[in-house]
């Protein structure tokens, strides 16, 4: 038996050691030119967790999930999905991109966008049938957008666009939902509607990973957190990890101390640890 390359072997070991993890990342490094945007990130998402990826602007949060999902090329690193190589298990992941990543003047209705989530189910050559259209409508119903099915997507507000993206992800019937800033620039009612859907999915055993920018809501919305600023600062359950100490380490001087104290959990524990 010929010796496999080091990296392939590394990936197999990663999958073997985390067979249940919806997303296991090891040594992930991404650079634009020669400037590393992310350096050697190891992160194992526990099954059934609600994970927030938190860090300052430019810390590489979005790049982290894009590199994990193969959207941007990585310099080094391995990714496994439920113990299998990413390429073999990508259909178990639903990705919700940032709203700003698409041109909303694109000629598509709300229903067309949700149907994109069903392309795998519809098949490569066949047309969407009645069953698919009804399923798309049911997904829209879950995010309160059924009445908007025939509207051109450019006529929606930011929060409504985000709901449509979520509906498309629901249509994929994935086991892991990876979302990039789902609450950025949406109204409070939409934020409540989205978090309700996410909690419902989580209750059904699905795993959720969100890039998240609002520190104040992390303890309410999530149970697991990854703090990142080019390098991994800390990861673990929110109660133990989302501490003022770790937040200071992640944000450096960019965050007022008072604000850190306000949002962090386990203030006393962190204080004792110092």
């Amino acid at each position: 038996m010929s010796a496999p390359t080091l990296i392939a072997d590394h990936g197999r070991t990663l999958g073997q050691s985390h067979p249940d993890s919806p997303l296991a990342i090891s040594g992930l490094t991404v650079s634009y030119g020669e400037k590393p945007v992310l350096f050697s990130i190891d992160f194992v998402v526990p099954k059934g967790a609600m994970v927030a990826i938190v860090g300052p602007n430019g810390a590489g949060k979005s790049t982290l999930i894009k590199a994990a999902l193969g959207i941007v090329p990585r310099v080094a690193g391995e990714v496994t999905v439920f113990g299998a190589p990413y390429e073999k298990a990508r259909h178990r992941i639903a990705y919700v991109p940032q709203r700003a990543s698409v041109d909303w003047d694109f000629p598509a209705t709300v229903r067309d966008v949700v149907l994109m989530g069903l392309y795998r189910e519809i098949g490569f050559l066949r047309f969407a049938g009645r069953r698919h259209r009804e399923k798309a409508l049911a997904c829209l119903e879950r995010v309160g957008m059924a009445a908007f099915a025939d509207r051109q997507i450019g006529q929606l507000s930011g929060g409504q666009q985000q709901r449509v993206f979520l509906a498309r992800a629901l249509a994929q019937e994935a086991d892991l939902y990876v979302m990039d800033e789902p609450f950025a620039g949406v109204d409070a009612a939409t934020e409540r509607a989205i978090i309700a859907v996410l909690k419902e999915l989580n209750g059904a055993g699905k795993t959720i990973v969100c890039v998240h920018h609002d520190l104040a809501t992390v303890p309410d919305y999530f149970d697991h957190v990854l703090l990142v600023n080019v390098r991994k600062i800390a990861d673990g359950p929110v109660a133990a990890t989302f501490t003022s100490h770790n937040l200071q380490a992640t944000y450096g001087g960019r965050l007022a101390a008072a604000h850190v104290e306000e949002v962090a959990v386990g203030r006393e524990a962190a204080g004792e640890g110092r």
């Binding site: 959207i71 990508r90 990543s101 694109f106 000629p107 507000s157 930011g158 409504q160 709901r163 509607a193």
Partner: protein, 403 residues
């Protein structure tokens, strides 16, 4: 004129009928792939492709002339054109990726260099001691007059094949055009899809050279898709409509050109496509000038109706003649200006709408500013039900009109 009508009805002989049908299929394929290229925001690339064909076309002609004594071999010319256009495309890609130049700058540079080189080669051809120099001129502006049956058949079959390829690849094309990042997570190889899109574009261009000419074939991949955008807000329909406009332009263009030997096919095709565009610009129900005017008038009536109803609710007198007219037409007031029963109900509903919208604007100023005609559309139609319920709940405990 009669000759044109005869040609339109496919009555001008087997060859002409075949050419006309071939041009229609070609126009359809060009419109369809052009729609995807437009949605990918790379329409200019088709310009680089078409001009990039000239050196290969001329070299193939010279080669065939030296080998066989006659350069007019359509298969060899197509192969030469395809190779040099592919080289041009590769140069554009390479320059865009490896330097700081943007794609449009790279296209401009490559296009002019290839075209200039092609013109030099054409001069060489003119000095060759061989027949058929006139044949190559047809590739510049397009000419279907006197086209051989084998040429017409080649064009029709090849155009049909590209149409089939577009049908098979429509899903990856759509996904990549809309959101390449999301497409990648669905297992679509974005680079390969782009390559396939450019490959089909190149094939359509090369096949269409003889019919539309290399200077004008680009219009066939750009004008029909832009025209189609006026008629629909859905991706697959836009591709189909673009194909229909392209096919119609190709059909009419080839028929006119066949009936009058003085007219170059390419020019007639482009003018026909442009006529469709102009008509769509005015008449389109989605984005046309007429519908824009109608929308503005409707909007004005809605503003007056709302103002009038609010005035009714406050018991104020209404003096604006248009407001009075609108209210009377809607049955909100009688001829003497007194509110009807329906009018009073509508006024109460308008007050509530205003209150809900006002609350929404206060709570979510950014969201509200992003909405079209915010405040005048019925709120239940403009916002998701849970948002409306939330607004109503905030409004009602304090009583209507509070704060």
């Amino acid at each position: 004129m009669t000759a044109f009508l005869t040609a339109l009805a496919l009555g001008a002989g087997y060859n002409t009928a075949l050419v006309t049908i071939g041009a229609a299929i070609l126009g359809g394929s060009a419109g369809a792939i052009g729609a995807f290229v437009l949605l990918r925001k790379r329409s200019l690339v088709s310009d680089a492709v078409s001009h990039g064909t000239l050196p290969g076309l001329a070299l193939a002609f010279i080669l065939m002339a030296l080998l066989t004594g006659d350069g007019r071999n359509i298969v060899a010319l197509m192969a030469g054109a395809a190779l040099s256009a592919a080289l041009g495309l590769f140069c554009v890609e390479w320059i865009t990726r490896r330097t700081r130049l943007t794609e449009d700058a790279a296209i401009g540079a490559v296009l002019s260099v290839f075209f200039g080189f092609g013109i030099v080669l054409l001069t060489v051809i003119q000095s060759l001691q061989t027949g058929g120099q006139a044949g190559i001129a047809g590739y510049l502006l397009g000419s279907t007059a006197g086209m051989l049956r084998s040429e017409a058949e080649t064009i029709a079959v090849a155009a049909l094949a590209t149409g089939a390829a577009i049908f098979v690849l429509r899903r990856p094309f759509t996904l990549v055009c809309f959101d390449e990042g999301y497409a990648a997570t669905r297992g679509i190889d974005v680079r390969l899809t782009d390559l396939a899109m450019m490959g089909v574009l190149l094939a359509v261009t090369v096949i269409g050279l003889k019919v539309a000419g290399l200077v004008l074939i680009v219009a066939l991949t750009i004008i029909p898709p832009v025209t189609a955008r006026f008629w629909t807000d859905r991706p697959e329909r836009m591709v189909l409509i673009a194909a229909a406009f392209g096919a119609a332009a190709g059909y009419v263009g080839a028929a006119i050109s066949a009936s009058d030997r003085g007219l170059p096919t390419g020019a007639v095709i482009v003018l026909t496509a442009a006529a469709f565009f102009a008509l769509s610009l005015v008449l389109s129900p989605v984005r046309g000038l007429m519908s824009g005017l109608a929308t503005r008038l409707r909007f004005r009536r809605r503003v007056h109706e709302r103002q009038g109803l609010l005035a009714l609710a406050r018991g104020e007198a209404i003096y604006d003649p248009l407001t009075i007219k609108v209210l009377r037409r809607a049955g909100h007031i009688r001829a003497d200006g007194v509110a009807t029963l329906e009018g009073r109900a509508a006024a109460a509903a308008a007050v509530r709408e205003e209150a809900l919208w006002g609350l929404y604007r206060r709570l979510h100023p950014d969201e509200a500013a992003a909405l079209d005609h915010q405040g005048l559309a019925p709120i239940a139609k403009a916002l998701p039900p849970d948002v409306v319920a939330d607004l109503a709940a905030r409004l009602d405990p304090a009583g209507a009109g509070a704060r």
